[in-house]
């Protein structure tokens, strides 16, 4: 187990470094030039070519991409993600502001998706072919097709603009004003949760159905084990494994959705922060976000792998 674990951790680190290099390389092939973007934002002053070169040198953008990358990674390891060229602000301190906001809404969505999705899937499997199964499955199929940004707009129209029940968007710290914070959380969290919720419901349903037809379940029923016990101890415990896989996949799903949802609700988390950076060709914020996101995704995959070993003893042996 220890050898397996350390091998997986080394692999994970390699993947994070590779993906950060990928984005670093891609960003530096951007057709736009952040220096020119920066200059055009400054209307009071015209710059000579020498000044432009000076700025480029100041930000180290005249060096080869690989050198810039190694330099950036060295600083990133110590928690310094560089400076935004457009605003001149520290990316690390901006990320420190944005990350908790995305975690707040993302974790809420993630937990909500599981709390609702797993029981719904189990109900569907146990009541297979009956009206409840048909209705839930149909809703789950529909839930996977909704464009999140559109759903956000529709919900905002209904609950904020028409009914005036909820604020239009934004973010308030839960430590500052809990009520307002939760009100602002409801719609974005629901939008983010919907796709993983639908996926988890479907996955739980099919995973449980695979188990329900096993001989040992029939045996359990035949010897008169109580329904509660059959479901809890035999069906769920044996069928939960594929759901864990999907939980791991739900993490990038939620983060990807956050990019759109945060823009709809004007919620200054990582997603909106990255989008703003992309629009202004500002390298450092985008690279910072991608590195943090890649670490989160890879760590979650690692947790999924490890919990596989915990849930399925056969994995531990091989």
């Amino acid at each position: 187990m220890f050898v397996y674990l350390s091998k997986r951790i080394l692999q994970a680190i390699a993947v994070v470094i590779l993906s950060s290099f990928l984005v670093f390389g891609v960003m530096h092939w951007l057709p736009g030039d952040p220096i020119l973007m920066y200059i055009s934002s400054d209307t009071y002053k015209t710059h000579t070519q020498a000044e432009i070169d000076q700025l480029r040198h100041q930000y180290g953008l005249d060096r080869p991409v690989v050198v810039q990358y190694v330099d950036w990674l060295g600083h990133a390891v110590t928690g310094d993600f560089g400076k935004s060229i457009i605003r001149g602000t520290s990316v690390s301190s901006e990320l420190k502001q944005a990350l908790p906001k995305t975690l707040y809404v993302g974790l809420t969505a993630f937990i909500f998706a599981h709390l609702i999705g797993i029981p719904l899937g189990i109900i569907c499997a146990i009541r297979r072919g009956r009206w409840m199964d048909n209705v839930i499955t149909a809703l789950a199929n529909l839930g996977m097709t909704v464009p999140v940004f559109w759903l956000g707009i529709i919900l905002m129209y209904l609950f904020s603009l028409k009914l005036h029940w909820l604020p239009v968007g934004g973010y308030t710290s839960p430590f500052e004003h809990l009520g307002m914070s939760l009100k602002q959380l409801v719609l974005p969290a629901f939008c983010l949760a919907l796709a993983p919720l639908a996926g988890i419901t479907r996955q739980t349903r099919s995973a449980m159905l695979d188990v329900i037809h096993q001989d040992y379940i029939r045996t359990a029923w035949a010897k008169g084990v109580a329904e509660r016990k059959v479901v809890m101890r035999h069906i769920i415990k044996n069928g939960i494994l594929p759901v864990v896989t999907l939980s791991g996949m739900a993490v990038p799903m939620v983060i990807g959705g956050a990019v759109l949802v945060e823009n709809v609700f004007n919620y200054m988390g990582m997603g909106k922060y990255a989008t703003v950076g992309l629009f202004t060709k500002d390298y450092a914020p985008v690279q910072g976000v991608v590195l943090v996101v890649a670490v989160i995704v890879v760590v979650c995959n690692l947790i999924v792998d490890i919990s596989y070993g915990y849930l399925d003893p056969r994995v531990r042996v091989s």
Binding site: Q11, N134, V146, I153, P252, M253, I255, G256, L278, N301
Partner: protein, 298 residues
């Protein structure tokens, strides 16, 4: 009647303990959804192909005197802020969505298919390198990766297709690698190898055709995902560039007029949902028909 029904693969896929009538209802529902999806897709393709004949107005023709018109006999879905006919733009938007969906998935199938087959068939260091590249791409959420690529490449139809297809390569590569590993162990592959067939011919002529049911099912569903991705990019303004009609961009264009003209945002979103739902249902149906063993893998 019973015998004829038994030969239907959908019947074989139905659970044993159901009564005949319940099986029938179950199948009708499943088939109904499949048929619904197929009809929607065919209609969508016809709409995209014959857009110039169907659209009452040119999609980019502005008419500032009639901007933000409410639905009327002349403009069934009203006009947008530039006075362009919403219905016409909706019809042309089907073109954009279908082209991006089909082209991006086709490219991802080819690229991912080759990577996955080579990785699974050759194994060893080649497999390790390919799978690490796949892991690398997978560690960045699909939408964030597509967004970054689209921003780098600069938007537009071709670049959106490239961005989305690259971000979709990993799942196809994984699927193909897993398929190849199982097919590789089958007797007909060893038979071919013992007869001295070159590896590329086994890969191309035997492994790939045998993996097609799984790829077809997954690919059909990914078309929906690609269309959703395109809509997201266009919504953010990094995807399809104006004035080309794209549903995602139409949603975002209608946003400022949400209170007075909610349909401007609502209608294109419903169109996206309808197409994505159709592709998912057809994928589900294909899975049941092509390979009952695949049920529950997604």
């Amino acid at each position: 009647m019973r015998l004829a029904a038994r030969r239907d693969p959908l019947v074989l896929a139905a659970p044993r303990h159901m009564s005949t009538r319940r099986v029938a209802v179950h199948l009708l529902l499943r088939k109904g959804l499949f048929m619904f999806g197929a009809v929607v897709i065919v209609l969508m393709i016809l709409m995209a192909v014959f857009a110039p004949l169907l659209a009452p107005f040119a999609p980019n023709a502005t008419d500032m005197q009639h901007s933000l018109a409410r639905p009327s006999a002349q403009h069934l879905l009203g006009t947008d802020n530039l006075g362009r006919d919403t219905l016409s733009r909706l019809i042309y938007g089907a073109r954009t969505s279908l082209i991006v969906g089909l082209a991006a998935v086709a490219a991802a199938v080819i690229l991912g298919g080759i990577l996955g087959t080579v990785a699974g068939f050759i194994g060893g260091i080649v497999q390790a390198v390919i799978m690490r590249i796949v892991d690398m791409l997978m560690s960045i959420p699909m939408l964030l990766l597509a967004l970054t690529l689209a921003a780098v490449l600069g938007g537009g139809l071709k670049n959106v297709v490239i961005a989305i297809s690259i971000s979709m390569v990993p799942p196809f590569a994984r699927l193909m690698a897993a398929q190849t590993l199982t097919i590789k162990e089958r007797d007909f592959v060893s038979a071919q190898r013992s007869m001295g067939a070159p590896r590329w011919r086994t890969m191309l002529g035997t492994v790939m055709p045998n993996a097609y049911p799984a790829v077809l099912v997954f690919g059909t569903m990914q078309i929906g995902a690609a269309i959703l991705g395109e809509a997201g990019l266009s919504y953010l303004g990094i995807g399809i560039q104006p004035p080309t009609a794209a549903w995602g961009a139409m949603v975002s264009l209608g946003f400022p007029y949400l209170v007075t003209h909610p349909w401007l945002s609502i209608v294109p979103g419903v169109a996206v949902m309808l197409v994505v739902f159709a592709f998912n249902m057809v994928g589900d149906g294909l899975r049941d028909v092509l390979d009952p063993r695949l049920r529950g893998t997604q």
